[in-house]
Symmetry: C2
């Protein structure tokens, strides 16, 4: 059973301001909730249908059984998948650059789907630290949480004023930016550690961040492609692959 | 002006069976329609608002001026963008492998967004030939056309029975499949030409196609990533990059 007030409360967590106020966010679906249960995140409540509870009775104390119809009323998914968890915000991260780190810096990534895919890519490439400009989409937006497919539980994310964060890095830290007029990354000697800055879907890296880059690189198109640019998540995967290669 | 019958006809082209019957498909938006006008495709009709017509009066004879409200009634986009074109099917392709070709083979890619992104990636990497299993999503689906961002005008696509198409290739043609248990592609000597098979989002490459592969490769995750797999479009971009590198 779920009360009207609970439905109202859960729906409020679809919005960033209420997530921040309550310090709670939502994760949905069997696979993703399972990853959060196994992770360091603290779960506040779980809403699940009988089938899920039968398979997961021991994993968590505070489980509310709901009907599929009730799950529909609180889910953001077109086809809700058995379970929805209310998860507590992670502790504030204070991401610093340590020698050997490869850090991804997101300069105003706006689309939640792109952000989720980028977090998933970071996880694939063993990148544990992502620093986001304050203008980047909220990583705890339910759409982002779904798109990360659980990768969120393994990657640390901090929001900050990006230009000043970069300025405070040790002088020797390489800061790479991906730009349309940079040097061909396949012909550039890339370092093992450093910061990789990825820019906005339409406008690329902001002028303030461009000023504090130490290296400007580009992903070359093959032959005479007429394409102006790649999707930002695709571009991020190609750059991460080249650094890790 | 647009009649009720025209609206009905245009909406029917959202469905694959009517597209095949009429041999027509839809392309929307200023940038994408512009790419089709400049391409080898034949355009049958254009529906556009006054603003677009003012800027493009000379480009095409058969332009119907419509109101923004009328454009809304025929568009699949949430925010229709000035113009919608009815485009004739391309001539039947008969894709063959020529020495030096890198061909992408799609084995049951189901999501139109993934298919569109993959076509865009092919264009970026100068791959001009894509062969699709008959079970792959329709590349002339409006969602795919939009996601390709015009790349569709520069890449040839044929649908066929994929296992038998591969069987008919010259014996010496390398056929690479991306599989979770393949050889690390960064440690494999990749050929300059050949066929790269990409499998279904959930189930990978079908057993019939696996049988006719000559090489099995995988994209290694870095370190101890818990991720089971990458999104298929991301994986395709990483493989194409490695072949073109």
């Amino acid at each position: 059973m779920i009360s009207k007030n609970q439905v109202k409360f859960l729906k409020s967590l679809h919005q960033s301001k209420y997530r921040r106020k309550e310090q709670l966010f939502l994760a949905e679906g069997v696979k993703i909730v399972d990853e959060f249960i196994k992770s360091n995140y603290s779960i506040k409540t779980i809403y699940a249908i009988e089938e899920w509870i039968d398979n997961n009775a021991d994993v968590f104390d505070n489980i509310n059984e709901v009907s599929l119809k009730e799950l529909h009323s609180i889910s953001l998914l077109k086809t809700p998948n058995q379970v929805l968890a209310v998860v507590e915000f992670p502790e504030d991260k204070n991401i610093v650059f340590d020698e050997g780190d490869l850090i991804l810096a997101l300069d105003t990534i706006q689309d939640p789907g792109n952000l989720g895919t980028i977090i998933r890519i970071a996880d694939w490439f063993g990148i544990k630290k992502i620093i986001c400009s304050n203008e980047t989409a909220d990583a705890l937006n339910p759409k982002v949480v779904q798109a990360t497919m659980g990768a969120l539980t393994r990657v640390n994310i901090e929001y900050t004023d990006l230009p000043s964060w970069i300025t405070k890095l040790p002088d020797t830290t390489p800061v790479y930016g991906t730009l349309l007029d940079g040097d061909n990354m396949y012909e550039t000697d890339l370092s093992d550690d450093g910061v990789i800055v990825v820019g906005n879907e339409g406008n690329g890296i902001t002028p303030e961040v461009q000023k504090v880059l130490t290296h400007r690189i580009k992903i070359p198109a093959y032959g005479n492609s007429m394409m102006e640019s790649l999707n930002v998540a695709i571009a991020t995967s190609l750059v991460c692959a080249e650094f890790r290669r």
